[in-house]
Amino acid sequence: MKDYTQPEFHVDIDYSKCHKCGRCVGQCGWGVYKFNERPIPDDSKCRACHRCVTFCPAHCITIKKSELAYRENANWEPQTRKNIWRQAATGGVLLTSMGASRPQQSIFDHLVLDACQVTNPSIDPLREPMELRTYLGNAEKGPAIKIETPLTFAPMSYGAVSLNVHKSMAMAASRLGILMNTGEGGLHADLYPYQDNVIVQVASGRFGVDPEYLNRGAAIEIKVGQGAKPGIGGHLPGEKINQEVSVTRMIPQGTDAISPAPHHDIYSIEDLRQLIYSLKEASGYKPVGVKIACVNNVGAIASGVVRAGADYVYLDGFRGGTGAAPAVIRDNVGIPLEIAIAVVDQRLRDEGIRQQASIIAAGSIRSSADLAKAIALGADSCAIGSAALIALGCHLCQGCHTGCCSWGLTTQKPELTRRLDPEEGAQRLVNLVNAWSHELQEILGALGVNAIESLRGSRERLRAVDLDEQTCKILGVKPAGM
């Protein structure tokens, strides 16, 4: 059936500058270019991932937004019309990837941080100690994990991302004294040397889970939900299950890896408790965390999770990324991370159980400012997935689910995955985390404190600009001027 949609981008090549080297043809994972004496682009295939632009030696490629005019209609935006054409042609669920991209308000952008002037001195992080060390786990007893800065890498499974991405994160985590997270795809043998800096995940598909796996991790995480697709399971297509992925996930090569929506052994909170303690038993009492998506009732859910024995609660906000999700779910289900942190932190305090577990916040932490604000709202640490991929080259083209990532990140095609050198990837991640840590130290210094625990949950140091009264109340943050 004819596809009624029109290309979103226009690939503009300035042939007067072009070397006719053909590099763009090879670089593009989406097959945009044909070569016939010169590169000929097919606009309809372009996802604006900028791989070709970045590697074109002549700098003669420009990707433009299609200038095609649509009859103005604020109600029926072009994207809405395109979605209908696509679905009319295929009858399918519209898939997408990365985090929610619609222009919903970002609460982080409406929060500002405090600073010292005169009555209490700011502290110069270049001259004074400025401590970021954080522990995840029950603050009063039991096992805990030490991280040198309040940041970890978010779970992204081997299978969804390439092995080189995993290696980059594992090496970076071990150099930084932080953690990477396997996601639900098991732990490849190449990562064993870094296992002390790895959280191993147990998800509904139980891929790659056996006693050895549980014992290798620094901590175990039960994945209940994901911010990008709360209530939805996962589906890794058979094409991505090559030999290595198949061994790591412990499933036959070429079969689809289906993660059911719920864990079929968790239908209520007491089931979760049993799983938490089974995992603790199986691993000699390692810390066990639970990752949940931020939904309306997140306060009560988190409270149940902590009472069930979790050592940390991982909150994944509705802007969190994904390797593949139905667009309708990604863009419409779940609540903002900022609200979830505030509600959960307060709820655990009200119930007197805040000390029993840490809070890891994730779901589009874009900068050290978001990190600082999340911590001030009540998180112990944040996790970064999208930001880590962006550090590795991702241009947020939202094409991960196609398995053709030109940057070699969310693909298993060897000609693409080899584009990421794990050593260089690790260095980029180390640089990013170090840069954010330095910025966080600057923020602490301006706030006049020299340890991260003095910012954690200190909502008094935040003010809201342009947020309604109810939202301020829920956040426990005063409006600016008060």
Binding site: N120, P129, V449, N450, E453, S454, G457, S458
Partner: protein
């Protein structure tokens, strides 16, 4: 900027209130007349076993409401105005009253609580639920005398020269973050703990949320009260020693902890993890008065001054050495405590008891 001073005779011998007033007079320019106060220990020997509530009332209605509250919830053995005298520079303040009360054992049993928790709940109730009533202090054989004015005037106003105590602390205030009001002057007290504080807690936001989890309510809009609650929580409820509490509130740096031997490392890591939200951050020097003596502590990087001196059985602390020399020109030893290092002064009778135990 504020000024503070403390004095404690370890032998338990009583020191006249005039001495601490003199120590404060030297530090006049560390305040601006918007708040000053004193805490004295051992000042009510005839009522040593009574909780003494020093009260401030904005109105007679508040006093009446509170009178009823005391009658209903305590055995009130004496109930009288706090003695004061007209003083130049002190404007009409609140109605000042004191109550010597005891708690009926039966109520404690019935409510399945402890006497001290019962008193703390009463303090929280009065401060939050009775409009215009404010508890200045609630300990045994101690009292807080504070208000809006310079320290020597406040001392004169409360006739401090008529009291004697084994321990005194005092404060001269230069308020920057809250308006000058009588209740907002230092010391802040709860049960036997009283705090004077020079500085500002940059960590107040989380410190207050921390204590709120345990039923304390920060109602005075100033950061110092939270320190009193923290000491109450750490020492009375969690059973930490003074030294441990100080190490929790002004925690050693991780770099220091990393260099310790294994046992200490494990201990301090656990202490710091458990009390991360209680840790006091930002510039501060505090003097804590207790029925057992006095503790002085400064922040982890010493952003506020604190000097200590010793002469015989008497220990002095102050923001300025001049303040000590004013009353003790030639002490045996004068020193500047290091950042985050507590000066702990215990009455001899308390130390002896600890040794026996």
């Amino acid at each position: 900027m504020c000024g503070l001073a403390g004095i404690c005779d370890k032998s338990g011998a009583l020191i006249p209130g005039e001495v601490i007033m003199k120590m404060m007079a030297v530090q006049r320019d560390r305040g601006n007349g918007l708040g000053a106060g004193y805490a004295g220990y051992g000042i009510y020997p005839e009522f040593a076993d009574h909780y003494c509530f020093h009260m401030m009332y904005d109105s007679t209605e508040a006093k009446e409401a509170c009178d009823i509250y005391f009658e209903r919830n305590f055995r009130v053995d004496r109930n009288e105005p706090l003695p004061t005298q007209k003083t130049v520079g002190i404007d009409a303040g609140p109605i000042l009253w004191r109550y010597f009360v005891t708690v009926d054992d039966r109520i404690i049993k019935q409510k399945d609580t402890t006497e001290q928790d019962y008193v703390v709940d009463a303090v929280m109730h009065i401060n939050t639920a009775i409009d215009g009533a404010f508890v200045a202090s609630s300990g045994k054989n101690m009292g807080v005398f504070k208000g809006v004015g310079f320290p020597e005037e406040i001392g004169h106003f409360y006739r401090l020269d008529e009291y004697e105590g084994h321990t005194w602390t005092a404060h001269n205030r230069f308020p920057t973050n809250t308006p000058g009001w009588w209740g907002g002057a230092h010391p802040f007290a709860l049960l036997d703990f009283s705090i004077v504080h020079n500085g500002e807690l940059s960590s107040y936001g989380i410190n207050s949320r921390y204590v709120e989890q345990f039923g304390y309510h920060c109602t005075m809009g100033t950061d110092t009260e939270v320190v009193a609650y923290l000491f109450d929580k750490l020492m009375r409820k969690d059973g930490l020693t003074v030294e441990q509490a100080c190490r929790a509130l002004a925690a050693p740096l991780w770099s220091e902890i990393d260099r310790m031997d294994e046992a200490d490392k494990a201990y301090y890591t656990a202490l710091r993890r458990k009390y991360g939200s209680a840790m006091l951050n930002g510039p501060f020097a505090i003097v804590l008065g207790t029925s057992e003596g006095m503790i002085a502590l400064s922040d982890r990087i010493k952003l506020r001054p604190l000097v200590a001196a010793e002469s015989g059985s008497i220990v002095y602390v102050a923001s300025e050495e001049s303040s000590i020399r004013e009353v003790c020109p030639d002490p045996d030893r004068v020193w500047t405590p290091r950042a985050g290092e507590a000066v702990v002064v215990r009455l001899d009778r308390v130390s002896r008891k600890a040794e026996v135990a």
